[in-house]
Point group: C2
Amino acid sequence: MAPDRLDATFAALADPTRRAILARLASGQAGVMELAKPFAMSQPAVSKHLKVLEHAGLISRGRDAQRRPCRLEPLPLADASGWLDHYREVWERNFRRLDLLLEEMKAQDTKTKARRTKRPPTKR
Amino acid sequence: MAPDRLDATFAALADPTRRAILARLASGQAGVMELAKPFAMSQPAVSKHLKVLEHAGLISRGRDAQRRPCRLEPLPLADASGWLDHYREVWERNFRRLDLLLEEMKAQDTKTKARRTKRPPTKR
DNA sequence: CACGTGTGTAACCTCAAAGTTGTATAACCA
DNA sequence: TGGTTATACAACTTTGAGGTTACACACGTG
């Protein structure tokens, strides 16, 4: 799973227009005009979004006369999902191990020690 | 789950430096200097990345003397993961229903019909 | 108090993303 | 053939992301 691939996938997903396009494509393939209709934006703009999605491997395109229908390509979604799940799992394992608490205790200890060695010239 | 929130989350995850920071934080909280060490980049640059992550709600920050330790905040990860899983599921359901195949058959039929009505003046 | 350390902020540069309009290409339709 | 439809491409503008350096501020230490 190349990092560049994840870069492209997450960057593609960061735009609400592109997520909406993917959502639409989840219910079947569609042409550019059909995809562009719901958006207050020109057709070239949508074509650019499609190019981004295609470059990220999230969609692929076919031919039907002068139309270039788009279809969803779920593998990059699976990769991204895998990355997220991996780190969520790691985090939860660490949370269960109470590493966080231990680190906070250590920090607290350091602070206390520091305060202790600093006390002498203060009020009293 | 507001769309802006997903925007911020995915945008934050689109940068390899930030993903690496999150990976590091998965094994416990850390200060800015500690996080900056592995990267060929200045401390302010790392601070900017941390600001992005914090704004996306992916990390939160505490106080330990002059240090501002960062800790992973997994909820946005769960949201993003949920979005991905949802659309993967929808896509797979559609795939099982063979919608794709049906649409391709329909397209094929249209093309055939068109070719049929166009034939007359051609060879034969 | 003076100093070093850890961080945040400001001003700046560069580049690419996201949109626009206008035009070209390609396939169907009359 | 000429016209319409679906799409791509090119050139341009604006905005923001990601990096830099220089500097300010807060806090613990000698």
